[in-house]
């Protein structure tokens, strides 16, 4: 059980890192992109813009913690 937890923790740290909100924001943005496509919009612009916003918010959180 200990090894399973360590394995899970490794992958969590590996993919998600120290800001789970950023990873959640990315997943939500991809979901919104898929929804827009399903509604008939070729929303190629959405994911780059959403990524920029998620990145910026994540940086704001990190710099507030370190300020």
């Amino acid at each position: 059980m200990k090894h399973v937890a360590a394995f899970g923790r490794f992958w969590w740290n590996f993919i998600v890192g120290d800001d789970w909100r950023a990873a959640a924001g990315i997943l939500a943005s991809i979901g919104v992109t898929a929804a827009l496509v399903a509604l008939g919009w070729n929303a190629w612009w959405f994911l780059p813009a959403a990524t920029a916003v998620v990145l910026w918010l994540s940086l704001l959180r990190a710099t507030r913690q370190r300020a």
Binding site: F14, A22, I26, I30, T33, V37, A38, W44, T63, A67
Partner: protein
């Protein structure tokens, strides 16, 4: 063109990780003996080769659109971590990655550790080298498998990683010191930009988006990510230097 980006991204990401792995192997070799360190290195390389050999072909059986969605999402989350750290370093909020300092710390820890020999191998040296190479190498394996499978060219991504391995090994053997002169922070920034760009590109395609101009949109996405990143560095550097309100 996409193959060129694929090769460059896999090569740069692999080189950065291998420079870090080299520091650990050097520390293990110098303090605990080269036999144990090199055996640890060899065991980790075998484990990593097995992971790529098993997972690589398995991934090619998944339909490409589903694969790009999953791989793109993983790369985007993973790449944004790199980019975030690189921006925080470049703007001064986090200390720069210093291979010399890491080497000194690894040396000190390895010298302080007790001696335990099994089957003629210094166990600490073996484990230090094995774990270091395996953990850094897993990132390389992850990038090779994800990039290669999403692009349908695992061989090219593996070749890029192989070239990086040969190059870092040759320089490491010649220099016999941590490669502190490699502009690692700049490389990490570049890799973060590339991982994020590919992550955006593939996950959007996986979600059903058709990029204007098809693959030709990739440099546009890359330029956008570079622009946002440089703007973030400038903005957060100003924020750090701004006098705090009394």
């Amino acid at each position: 063109m996409k193959d060129g980006f694929l090769f460059a991204s896999a090569f740069l990401a692999s080189a950065v990780e291998m420079v870090e792995a080299l520091t650990i192997v050097l520390a293990a070799g110098v303090t605990r003996g080269w036999r144990s360190a090199l055996l640890g290195l060899g065991a980790a390389v075998v484990a990593l080769t097995a992971i790529v050999a098993v997972l690589g072909p398995a991934l090619t059986m998944i339909p490409i659109s589903a694969l790009r969605l999953v791989v793109g999402a993983l790369l985007l989350a993973f790449g944004m971590q790199w980019l975030r750290k690189a921006i925080l370093r470049a703007s001064g909020f986090v200390g720069m990655h210093d291979e010399d300092a890491i080497y000194a710390r690894e040396l000190e820890e390895a010298r302080a550790a007790g001696h335990e020999e099994r089957a003629g191998i210094d166990w600490y040296g073996f484990t230090l080298s094995f774990k270091g190479v395996l953990l850094e190498g897993l990132e390389v394996a992850f990038i090779v498998i994800t990039f290669g499978s999403a692009q349908g060219n695992i061989a090219l991504a593996a070749l890029a990683a192989g070239v990086a391995l040969v190059l870092v090994t040759i320089v490491g053997v010649l220099v016999r010191a941590p490669l502190a002169r490699v502009p690692e922070n700049t490389l990490k920034f570049a890799v973060g930009v590339m991982l994020t760009t590919f992550g955006i590109f593939w996950s959007a395609e996986g979600a059903g988006v058709h990029w204007p101009g098809g693959d030709a949109a990739l440099p546009g996405a890359l330029a956008f990510v570079i622009l946002v990143s440089l703007a973030a560095v400038a903005a957060f550097r100003r924020r750090r230097l701004a006098p705090s309100p009394a």
